[in-house]
Symmetry: C2
Subunit: 336 residues, 2 copies
């Protein structure tokens, strides 16, 4: 039987330093045929996230991607053949498929979830996807913002950071962002309604924090790490919560850079720094999605996607995250 062609972008070499085109290989193979209990899905959109860089390099909270395997990635796909009653042809599903046109899914380890009615594929990967959920659990579960507190967010124009600040506003906090460049800062304040945004490319971040967080920082939601984390630590209040979401500033360093000099601030301010992995919250995803959907419906959360067209451009889309070129959730559109 003639099988459709499955274009794949696989891991050719582990990155050393910045991700480069040489990390990837491209091939075309026949799409696999679903066995009993399996279905074949066709990728519509890929979710491009900084954590992919980590999966390419080494075991972290998930095993490293094996050399020769398609690059692991969240995605929305459409069921095109099915030998599993859980999947009907035409269903839209989301989960992990990797950088390829076709993948097999089942009801076990390779299961995908059917998209609830009314949810757009791009929203399933953005505001209701890992990035939106990361904002929700990181801020509310670890950050525990209280009315009147100040929430500082780095990477504030990003898919996670922008939602963190808007949730902070909804919870009665002052929301201050840190982002790079006037366009991103405008997005953060004007579109997302943060109280202020500090342009880290335009001046001293520490001074910006002092100016825009006159009562100090109660929650620092950090997507960036490095010098920005250090500057924020100098301004934390007593009992502050530092939510370590990521450290995109250093994901492409060949070895981890030195950490923050001002760690003793955690002692002096009796403060807490905590990391998390959103996948741990899987059983609570419906609760978070329902809350996010309510805020979106009420027009209280603004979100946007940044779509690159074409599977072949997935590596380029990943690099956009590290150069800061993207504005909004980075997606790759693979098929209609």
């Amino acid at each position: 039987m003639d099988r459709p062609i499955n274009r794949r972008i696989t891991l050719a070499a582990r990155p050393q330093g910045m991700v480069a085109e040489s990390c990837f290989a491209r091939d075309e193979v026949p799409a696999p045929s679903p066995g009993e209990g399996e279905a074949l899905v066709r990728t519509l959109y890929l979710s491009i996230d900084p954590t992919i860089r980590g999966w390419m390099e080494r075991d972290t909270y998930l095993p490293a991607i094996a050399i020769g395997d398609p690059v692991r990635s969240g995605a929305v796909a459409e069921v095109v053949e099915s030998r599993n009653p859980a999947y009907a042809v035409g269903d839209r599903v989301f989960g992990m498929v990797g950088w390829q046109d076709y993948a097999l899914v089942d009801s076990g380890a390779a299961a995908m979830q059917v998209l609830p009615p009314g949810i757009e594929p791009t929203d399933a990967l953005g505001i209701y996807g890992i990035t939106g959920l990361t904002a929700w659990f990181g801020l509310l579960d670890l950050g525990q913002p209280k009315q009147g507190e100040t929430v500082l967010v780095s990477g504030a124009a990003g898919a996670t950071g922008s939602v963190v600040g808007q949730l902070a506003k909804i919870h009665g906090c002052r929301a201050v962002g840190i982002a790079g460049g006037p366009e991103k800062c405008r997005f953060v304040t004007e579109d997302c309604g943060f109280d202020a945004c500090i342009d880290y490319k335009a001046g001293d971040v520490g001074r910006g924090i002092a100016e825009h967080c006159p009562h100090g920082v109660d929650v620092f939601f950090d997507n960036v790490g490095g010098d920005i984390l250090d500057a924020a630590l100098l301004r934390i209040n007593q009992r502050a919560r530092v939510v370590l979401c990521g450290a995109i500033a250093s994901y492409n360093d060949a070895e981890p850079p030195p950490g923050p000099r001002n760690l003793m601030q955690l002692v002096i301010q009796r403060a807490r720094m905590e990391g998390f992995i959103v996948l741990d919250y899987l059983p609570r995803f419906p609760e978070a999605m329902a809350d996010l959907a309510k805020h979106v419906a009420e027009g209280r959360i603004h979100h946007r996607v940044d779509v690159v067209e074409g599977l072949e451009r997935a590596p380029e889309a990943l690099l956009r995250l590290f150069s800061g070129a993207n504005l909004g959730k980075q997606l790759v559109k693979v098929a209609d």
Copy 2:
């Protein structure tokens, strides 16, 4: 009226880098006379703690010591004159007096607590003092050790670290220490009953942790910071708790050194790093002291003091902490 002579060691200059004799001035003044509601106390023992270095330099969780003031210090003293019914001549009291022979106390900001009967002055500053209480609250409140977990302690031969490991054993954990030199390591394992002690002067700490914490580290109680914190972060388990008690490795650096490179371990392992100041737990001190006293009475907590004789040697005693010369709680005996 002839007043006794009050020898004082005052702050002459803020330390830059290592504490030096030039930071201190010495004078002799007449002891003050208590006004209505005050009492005069005579210092018996001074508690010498690493945190004094911080108070000398800058505002932290307490205001910096003012230039010209006696160096701030915990102490046990004896009431020698009283115009306050809360203090009877002959009472032994503990609290903050500073590096001097005599001080005024009152029932307000300068109050001291009367020593409970049966408590030796040295124990009031050691196992029942700030160092013992720091071990108790830091381990139990922040570290939350569970039976069968591994608790790693840096500065394990110190007045706080040695108690942390013994409390960990009492709570059913594996206790592993890190200390400098064979004498201290022997004290940690043989006298304090830790399961193992890593001599950081004798080899690679990371390898030692891997060897002696074969199931990883669930609680890391850190008194040291620097490279030791970095090495420990590489071995933490999921949901680990890193209790930041201090960072004696860097207290004398002119500026804070770079922090741990392996901070992203907090994300990958969903772990928490938290600082605390034991003075915040003041209302719960009696609970902790009662628990410690029970363990001491049952012979389950071994503790020792390291006494330097003479007020004039207080600066030298402080320096002993940073060179690691002390073994046990560092005290200065000022009077019988």
